[in-house]
């Protein structure tokens, strides 16, 4: 068996040889294993996270949550709570009834007259201490009149299903992007029509049809949501929050409380993991009325149960997939129906139904496609963005089906994939022309890693290996901007609004700027996002930060460089072409001894000028998709590709699956920092292993979540982790990316669960059409197989 030591040796060798002389850009800073700039403050525990912010005179808040899944509030009496000594204020949906949301404003702050899930917020309390607030919550009296709830997304789509949002038609939404169906529970219906799918099936030699379901899971960032907010004179809202989307939080606060954006200031604190859960305003919204009413700072820090019930969860998915295929393995038609279990608010989930829908056919060039993807309201916690944005869920079905087809056709699954993969220049399912396509290289490298050092059999257990491959979109036309200032002492401040959520973006942005200005990384300091002072960025989402904001930072640095050269030309009294630039200095051609640093060039002597570089970036030809056909010019700025291979042992007596090794190769364009990139892959293995084998939100028949704590919501521990080997494609840098880079956070999670599921099948012949692959499920399936024999 391959040992950890051997793996480390392989990794070491890779460090030396891997990134040299290939097509991906390797520079002095870009492509180098630069230590993370935020490492020191994190490992020494000095970074201030959301809950660490303390303001003088601050109140603590708690939420009163609904015990009913769908009910009218017939009586709400907060008087006893208000009378409790130490309680400062109580807020309810009667006073604060604005709606808000990301793409679709369907979300109330507190329940207005109806509760929509067990855990929905009915009131909020601010008090002098947590204990008092907690007691006050118990003193709030509520009477409910039950309404019929609906928990199953398929049931919720039926014409006679109870409606969660009868006023859907009057909500505000992003027109032309979403297509809600007022009068139903369908918050968005995305359609993609390409070619003639029936003709495709008619020409096919075989047709396969499979259905699979993936349950709701939660992001479980290590740091739970926390914010402190205070409202200053003139209703100026000032907030500190551990958020991935300070500008989106600001927008949602503005919509909910009708406050102009320039009166809301959101500071980003350290963020202890997000995975999408911290993109939009949640606790930030619930805290504001308390601050407005009390005129005192209010802290709202969530506990683990609130993470599950009152932030975001990953939507459940029920997916039907019909594929027509030729004898040689070429797919000719795919018809897909995705039903996303969106929970009570689908303000962000609608977008997952859209993009998760258009990516659901996988990284394959299929001539005829028909996709329907629905985001559906149910009386459960709200779904929303979760690392992968629909791709890992859909891949669980799609990639298992590829393996099943290959087996039936008697060809290797790797060949089946190779025959169908997209290539440079191909037209994507959505009509866009593809550039920077590395899926084949990833397949080769994953296969080699698996075959080079296969694991040995273990006594009494069955061994199997399996792969899965995905492609992942990003955003299209979103704005990114950055500003760079050179200080009097030659140090540099870099302003951009990407949240450092553990992914290493701060380091990557500084590497890019270092590369342009040829200065050491530590000469630069990044400023945490602050909506009053850092320039605009859409969100830290969609694996878009390196590409979009990285370009903005690059342009800001190039802009500063241009300004410096102009100033140096004046100072040295030479034409601009004769100014030399390098090592953080400028000098007149041929006179290196007169070199001056940036501060000297700009601020020295008698004509001080402040250098202020700025950069903005977007994709000019980005476009939406047609309502009827899902076709468009460029729905995603770029596509990322990647594959993973899993090796498992199955204990057939207990059904226990041991994930022994995971290999991963991804096409992320140029790898700006190999160490942080590998970290993304290793982290995704941990997360994907949890999703594949342990994680599932269990509800009882009344919609109550049964496992809203880590006692019974299992995440993998270090002892559950497999050996991991990682690699990257080097032949497909993106021509518009900063130094050729694309992105990688989300696709890293894309294939993990599907690869594990395929490995389990290859080990013991059990194909499960639901996640997670718990020991009990595997055991039952093995038993059923025995019976059938």
């Amino acid at each position: 068996m391959i040992t950890n030591k051997q793996i480390l040796k392989i990794l070491d060798e890779k460090q030396d040889t891997f990134y040299k002389g290939k097509q991906n850009y390797v520079g002095k800073y870009v492509g180098q294993r630069v230590p993370r700039v935020d490492a020191y403050e994190k490992v020494t525990g000095r970074l201030k996270f959301g809950a660490d912010v303390e303001l003088p005179n601050q109140l603590i808040s708690r939420l009163k949550r609904s015990t009913h899944a769908h009910a009218k509030i017939t009586r709400l009496d907060t008087s006893k709570a208000e009378a409790l000594p130490g309680v400062v204020t109580v807020a309810t949906g009667k006073e604060f009834n604005g709606l808000t949301g990301c793409y679709l404003n369907d979300s109330h702050v507190y329940a207005i007259d109806r509760v929509l899930w067990v855990g929905d917020i009915v009131a909020a309390v601010a008090a002098e201490t947590a204990e008092i607030a907690e007691k006050a919550v118990e003193l709030i009296e509520i009477e409910y009149e039950d309404m019929t709830p609906v928990f199953d997304a398929i049931e919720a789509m039926k014409p006679d299903a109870p409606l969660l949002h009868p006023n859907l038609g009057s909500y505000k939404w992003l027109k032309g992007f979403l297509f809600p169906k007022p009068g139903t529970n369908i918050a968005n219906h995305f359609k993609l029509r390409k070619g003639d799918v029936e003709k495709g099936f008619a020409e096919a030699d075989y047709i396969f049809e499979d259905t699979l379901s993936v349950p709701m899971v939660q992001h479980t960032p290590m740091e739970s949501h926390a914010c402190v907010v205070q409202v200053e004179a003139g209703n100026q809202v000032e907030m500190w929050a551990c958020t991935q989307g300070p500008f989106l939080v600001r927008q949602m606060i503005s919509d909910a409380f009708n406050i102009p954006l320039n009166k809301i200031r959101v500071h980003t604190t350290g963020v202890g993991g997000g995975f999408g859960a911290k993109l939009i305003a949640k606790n930030e919204l619930y805290a504001i009325p308390l601050a407005l009413k009390s005129h005192r700072p209010v802290k709202m820090a969530f506990n683990r149960s609130e993470e599950f019930l009152n932030t975001f969860v990953r939507q459940g998915l029920i997916m039907k997939m019909k594929t027509g295929v030729k004898k040689n393995g070429k797919m000719v038609a795919r018809k897909i129906e995705c039903i996303w279990d969106g929970g009570a608010f689908c303000d962000y989930g609608v977008s997952i139904a859209r993009s998760g829908g258009y990516a659901s056919a996988g990284p394959y060039d299929v001539e005829n496609l028909w996709i329907d993807s629905y985001c559906v309201y149910t009386n459960k916690p709200s779904g929303g963005a979760y690392r992968g944005f629909g791709v890992p869920e859909a891949a669980t079905v799609e990639e298992q089906q590829i393996d099943m087809i290959a087996e039936r056709l008697g060809i290797p699954a790797t060949e089946m994939r190779r025959i169908n993969f997209y290539h440079e220049g191909d037209t994507h399912a959505t009509g866009m022309k593809l550039h920077s396509v590395g899926c084949e290289e990833c397949l080769d490298k994953v296969t080699t890693m698996l075959e080079k050092t296969p694991l040995k059999p273990k006594e009494g257990k069955l061994y199997g290996a399996g792969q899965a491959h995905v492609h992942k979109f990003t955003a299209h036309t979103v704005a990114a901007s950055a500003v760079l200032k050179i200080n009097e002492d030659n140090s540099i401040l870099l302003y951009h609004a990407v949240s450092e959520i553990g992914q290493g973006s701060q380091t990557v942005m500084q590497q890019i700027v270092s590369e342009v200005l040829d200065v050491p990384i530590d000469q630069i300091q990044s400023v945490k996002a602050d909506t009053h002072f850092t320039p605009y960025a859409w969100q830290t989402a969609a694996s878009k930060a390196t590409f979009f904001d990285g370009n903005a930072c690059k342009y800001a640095a190039e802009n500063a460089k241009k300004q410096l050269i102009e100033l140096a030309a004046i100072r040295f009294d030479v034409p601009q072409e004769d100014v030399e630039f390098g090592g953080g200095k400028l000098w007149p051609k041929g006179k290196p001894e007169s070199a001056q640093n940036f501060a000297q060039v700009s601020m020295g002597g008698s004509f001080p000028k402040a250098v202020f570089g700025h950069g903005i970036f977007t994709v000019e030809d980005g476009s939406g998709l047609d309502e009827q056909t899902g076709q468009g010019n460029r729905c995603s700025a770029f596509w990322m590709f990647g594959g993973q291979g899993a090796e498992v042992y199955v204990d057939t007596e207990t059904g226990e699956v041991e994930l022994a090794r995971m290999v991963a190769c991804h096409d992320v364009g140029t790898v700006i920092n190999p160490t942080t990139a590998e970290g993304q892959l290793e982290g995704s293995v941990a997360q994907g292993l949890g999703i594949a084998m342990f994680e599932e939100m269990h509800f009882d028949e009344k919609g109550k979540l049964l496992n809203d704590s880590f006692t019974d919501y299992h995440l993998p521990t270090t002892l559950d982790m497999p050996l991991i080997e990682t690699d990257f494609a080097v032949n497909s840098p993106h021509k518009e990316g900063p130094y050729g880079a694309k992105g990688m956070g989300e696709p890293a999670l894309g294939p993990t669960a599907a690869a594990i599921a395929n490995a389990v099948y290859n080990a013991c012949g059990v194909r499960l059409f639901a996640l997670p692959l718990t020991s009990e499920r595997v055991w039952k399936a093995l038993k059923d197989k025995e019976v059938q024999k």
Binding site: A130, E131, V137, F694, T717
Partner: protein, 314 residues
């Protein structure tokens, strides 16, 4: 999770002082060992309304004016916490005297896991102590706390059952010994009397061989879904006596009685072990919950019993 309740905290230096405090505070006292159950339960505890009838002696005479007030309290509250760890002589010693092994109630899981005598004579207990929770938990969690907490899934409980432990308890009225078979009463309930604490556990090494196995989805930080301990007295290949302790399959840890009976007097061939495992599965009375269905738990008892017996014999 909330902050801990506000409580009064005591550090008695002697057992006598501890007993006095326990008597004084009665039901409003709790003894503290590692705190890994107690403090977590308190922090996690929900608040709930309690209707309190304010009828003191004075206004009980005019019962009609008896005022009911609503108080909000934690369901698992702490009022007076009595730390046992400062008592001298310290209650965490593991001592061997002849065939008798005494394990102090405050011995931590790590201590038990690393102790040479425990490892030699009771590998099942050493293994259980080395498996529960995580290293951090094991470094402070005590066996006394594990047993006093009396969860049917308690890591060491079904092991102590199979190892025929005696529980030495003390209180104001003196010390007594409770047979482990008589100790557990229901989920979270045991036969300790008010004011009594566990002082130590006594085990006798009588040449048996033993092993422990448990099933849980994760490899650490996970509660027992099914636990099995086999303790066998062998005469060559023939089994003279057998104890099979089962955890998390009934309201208390239990013996697999029919399996135990069946094994006695038999040569432990593969077939015999298989049959015993089947019988053990029949002895289990598990429930279905989100951790596992009753059917799966029953099946696991069978697989684990078979494997545990084999390991004990190896």
């Amino acid at each position: 999770m909330n902050k801990l309740s506000e409580f009064d905290y005591y550090e008695p230096a002697t057992l006598a002082e501890a007993y006095d405090l326990l008597e004084k505070f009665g039901t409003e006292a709790k003894v503290l060992a590692g705190g890994t159950d107690m403090l977590v339960m308190n922090k996690k505890s929900a608040f709930a309304k309690v209707e309190k009838s304010d009828c003191n002696v004075h206004n009980r005479l005019i019962a009609d004016t008896c005022a009911t007030t609503t108080e909000v309290k934690r369901v698992y509250d702490l009022k007076n916490v009595i730390n046992l760890k400062k008592i001298k002589p310290i209650l965490n010693e593991i001592a061997v005297k002849g065939d008798k092994l005494t394990i102090g109630a405050l011995a931590t899981m790590t201590q038990i896991n690393l102790n040479e005598s425990v490892k030699k004579h009771f590998p099942a207990l050493a293994a259980a102590a080395g498996r529960m929770g995580s290293p951090l938990v094991r470094n402070i969690a005590t066996m006394g706390g594990n047993v006093a907490n009396s969860s049917p899934a308690g890591e060491t409980l079904f092991v102590l059952l199979a190892l025929e432990a005696k529980v030495l308890v003390g209180g104001k009225a003196g010390n007594r010994t409770i047979d482990i078979n008589d100790f557990f009463v229901h989920v979270g309930k045991n036969s300790l009397k008010p004011g009594e604490i566990i002082l130590a556990f006594e085990l006798e090494s009588t040449g048996s061989c033993n092993a422990y196995k448990r099933f849980s989805p994760r490899h650490s930080m996970d509660l027992v879904v099914v636990g099995v301990c086999a303790n066998l007295w062998m005469d060559g290949k023939v089994c003279k006596k057998a104890n099979i302790g089962l955890g998390a399959v009934a309201i208390t840890p239990i013996h697999a009685v029919s399996a135990e009976k069946y094994l006695v007097g038999k040569e432990l061939t593969d077939d015999v072990i298989k049959e015993a495992a089947k019988l053990a599965a029949g002895d289990a009375k598990p429930i279905s919950d989100i951790r596992a269905s009753a059917e799966y738990r029953t099946h696991l008892v069978e697989v684990l019993t078979k494997r545990t017996i084999k390991e004990a014999l190896a």
